[in-house]
């Protein structure tokens, strides 16, 4: 190392932090209310309040956390929890292709940046490329986690003040997945996957209703593997 790593002038740094927080605001507007709903759900499901912040720190992945609330209440086996986590968060594998991690030099900061690489952080950096610095990126990611953990805690507090159990609140999760499915299926090219997924889940439901999610995901993975092998066989020269 020839150059001493300089953190940059403080004024510059403050401007970058401010820009990072600004970049976090629009996505944060959606994260906070969803966090409140998640906190409410944790309490209404009968789990201890600390599960809300603890899971938001362990996973930091919104839709997975909402899903895990129900799985924990049902004391789902850890193998099923592991597979569900793997498949639901598998999309994160592709975020490394375009996330500007090379900007972050400090090892601790780098570790946090990777840990906090959530959908929103990926979407915002990809949506406005070219203007990122280490401070901006990290302050945005820390702001995201504060919205999410803060929203969950607000939901916990709110649940304690509600007069009674609200029946049907967990439908929010179903509604969320319906909208995410619609967003993922903007072209007809996605229809075969959706059809295979529907058949896989229906079959799993018929065979073992109690572990339909686990079996359905496994069956879907198997079906896609067969589809991949068939597609490769059909065009062997195109490699």
């Amino acid at each position: 190392m020839h150059t001493t790593p300089s953190p940059g002038p403080p004024v510059h740094r403050r401007a970058e932090v401010a820009a990072g927080v600004r970049a976090s605001l629009s996505a944060g507007l959606g994260m906070f209310p969803l966090g409140v709903a998640y906190g409410l759900l944790v309490i209404q499901a009968g789990l201890p309040w600390w599960v809300a912040p603890a899971l938001s720190i362990a996973a930091f992945a919104g839709s997975l956390e909402l899903l895990l609330v129900g799985m924990m209440v049902a004391v789902t086996p850890l193998a099923a929890v592991a597979l569900t986590t793997f498949l639901v968060n598998f999309r994160h594998v592709f975020y490394a292709f375009s996330f500007p991690l090379q900007l972050v030099r400090h090892p601790l900061a780098r570790t946090y940046s990777v840990y906090a690489l959530i959908d929103e952080a990926y979407a915002v950096t990809v949506g406005s490329p070219g203007r990122w610095t280490s401070w901006r990126l990290l302050s945005m990611q820390i702001a995201f986690q504060m919205y999410w953990v803060g929203g969950g805690l607000a939901g916990v507090v709110l649940a304690a003040r509600l007069p009674a159990h609200i029946e049907g609140l967990e439908f929010a999760l179903c509604a969320l997945f319906v909208t995410l499915t619609l967003d993922a299926c903007r072209t007809t090219a996605q229809l075969p996957s959706l059809l295979l997924a529907g058949l896989s889940f229906a079959a799993a439901l018929a065979i073992a209703p109690d572990s339909a999610l686990f079996l359905g995901l496994l069956a879907f993975l198997g079906a896609l593997t067969v589809r991949y092998l068939l597609a490769r066989r059909r065009e062997p020269a195109d490699a």
């Binding site: 603890a54 129900g70 594998v93 609200i166 439908f171 997945f177 997924a197």
Partner: protein, 108 residues
């Protein structure tokens, strides 16, 4: 109801897998980018997995307390319609669907 040890085991499992999914790709970026299996699956997986999660949570909501099937079907229709009409503003669609389901469940 789960005990504390079970909850801690879930937290540990989820932490490990989620962090690995986020960290490992940075270490093996090039082979991943060149793998045809990985890039193909990247295109195929999301819609289907989200669809299975939608079906699974639908099944949970529709079946709870001895049959809320009609309420769930109506609420899904409201969610989807709100989503397509509100230019995919997720929060609006989720709120509309959830309020519909809670209200219909309270009625019947």
């Amino acid at each position: 109801m789960p005990d504390t040890w079970y909850i801690l085991a879930v937290l540990g499992t989820v932490f490990t897998i989620t962090l690995a999914l986020r960290a490992v790709p940075f270490a093996v970026l090039r082979p991943l980018r060149e793998s045809r299996l990985v890039t193909t699956m990247a295109g195929w997986l999301p819609a289907g997995i989200l669809g299975i999660l939608a079906l699974s949570t639908f099944h949970g909501s529709a079946g709870q307390g001895g049959g809320h099937l009609i309420q769930a079907v109506v609420a899904v229709a409201v969610t989807a319609a709100a989503h397509l009409l509100s230019r995919r503003r997720t929060l609006v669609s989720v709120a509309a669907g959830t309020v519909t389901f809670v209200a219909l469940s309270a009625l019947g």
